[in-house]
């Protein structure tokens, strides 16, 4: 029971932080591309790299949740 709650908390807190971060990064990238459309390609590459870094933290939470569920 408590393991299930722990798994839920792990994945939801990780998702919360990652979601806020991704929203800020994506929004800023769209602002930058709207201001200077000619550097869109570079910004898109950088956006993907930074989204990957943000996403890793969320995936760590998901991994912990899977490990907890596996222990149940």
């Amino acid at each position: 029971m408590s393991i299930a709650i722990g798994a839920g908390i792990a994945v939801s807190i990780a998702g919360l932080g990652g979601g806020v971060g991704m929203g800020i990064a994506g929004g800023k990238a769209i602002e930058a591309i709207a201001r200077q459309p000619e550097v869109g390609g570079d910004i898109r590459t950088l956006l993907f790299i930074s989204l990957a870094f943000i996403e890793t933290l969320t995936i760590y939470g998901l991994l912990i949740a899977f490990m907890l569920v596996g222990k149940m």
Binding site: T45, F48, I49, A52, T56, I59, L63, F66, G70
Partner: protein, 227 residues
């Protein structure tokens, strides 16, 4: 099942157990190799058919990595490795596009097991150090104590964190997506998982791109000037 090392060993190759994921990877390598062989067998100056397509891919990757990695000769040297990563990862992500593939042996995507992704990440890590040494020689060791020797543990930790995060990112994404499709299939057997699998097509391609891009930027960082 989840972190099973050898969840179903098919046969032994000497002392090495071979499970169904390894056989799936052999099949993928065979298919990719056949494509490359058919396209490059009897090449002509004026390309036709498959040779045309393959040349387009090669030229695109050279341009793309040249843009990402800044230096032309480094990009040319490592583009074959990086585009092999891309092709292998995208094919193995897509090999799991059957609903409930997580439960059918032989149709699991190999990248949903973290032994496979850890191997790929280790290849990247070794290539990063090889690139650093071959570009800078012994001076490459200096970047471990930059900006000053007190940063040595942090720099070493970073070298471990890079391959670890590459491993966990690819494995976690593909495995998580497989698990969610499997649960949905269990709850509602028909049509409901389709929506999520449309997302899975996009996710597979994005993860392949992200792995390749990050490998490229690590290699560029270790081999480029001014670290």
């Amino acid at each position: 099942m989840i972190f099973g090392m050898w969840d179903s060993v098919l046969f032994h190759l000497g002392p090495i157990p071979v499970d169904h994921l390894v056989v799936t990877q052999w099949a993928l390598v065979l298919v990719l190799g056949l494509f490359a062989f058919m396209g490059s067998r009897n090449m002509q100056v004026i390309p036709r058919g498959m040779q045309n397509g393959l040349e387009m891919i090669v030229e695109f990757t050279y341009n793309f990595f040249g843009q990402v990695m800044d230096e032309e000769h480094i990009a040319k040297k490592y583009a074959p490795l990086l585009s092999t990563f891309f092709l292998f990862i995208i094919c193995s992500n897509y090999s799991g596009l059957i609903p409930g593939a997580a439960h059918i042996q032989g149709f699991q995507p190999p990248t949903s097991n973290w032994n496979v992704t850890a191997t790929l990440a280790l290849i990247t890590a070794l290539t990063v150090h090889y690139a650093g040494f071959s570009e800078h020689g012994a001076h490459y060791l200096g970047h471990f104590i930059s900006p000053n020797p007190a940063f040595l543990p942090l720099n070493l930790l970073e070298e471990i964190a890079h391959p670890l995060s590459l491993t966990v990112r690819l494995f976690g994404n593909i495995f998580g997506e497989e698990m969610i499709v499997a649960y949905l299939l269990f709850l509602a057997p028909f049509f409901v998982p389709t929506a999520l699998m449309g997302l899975a097509v996009m996710l597979g391609a994005i993860q392949a791109i992200v792995f390749t891009l990050l490998s490229a930027s690590y290699i560029a960082a270790s081999s480029g000037g001014g670290h």
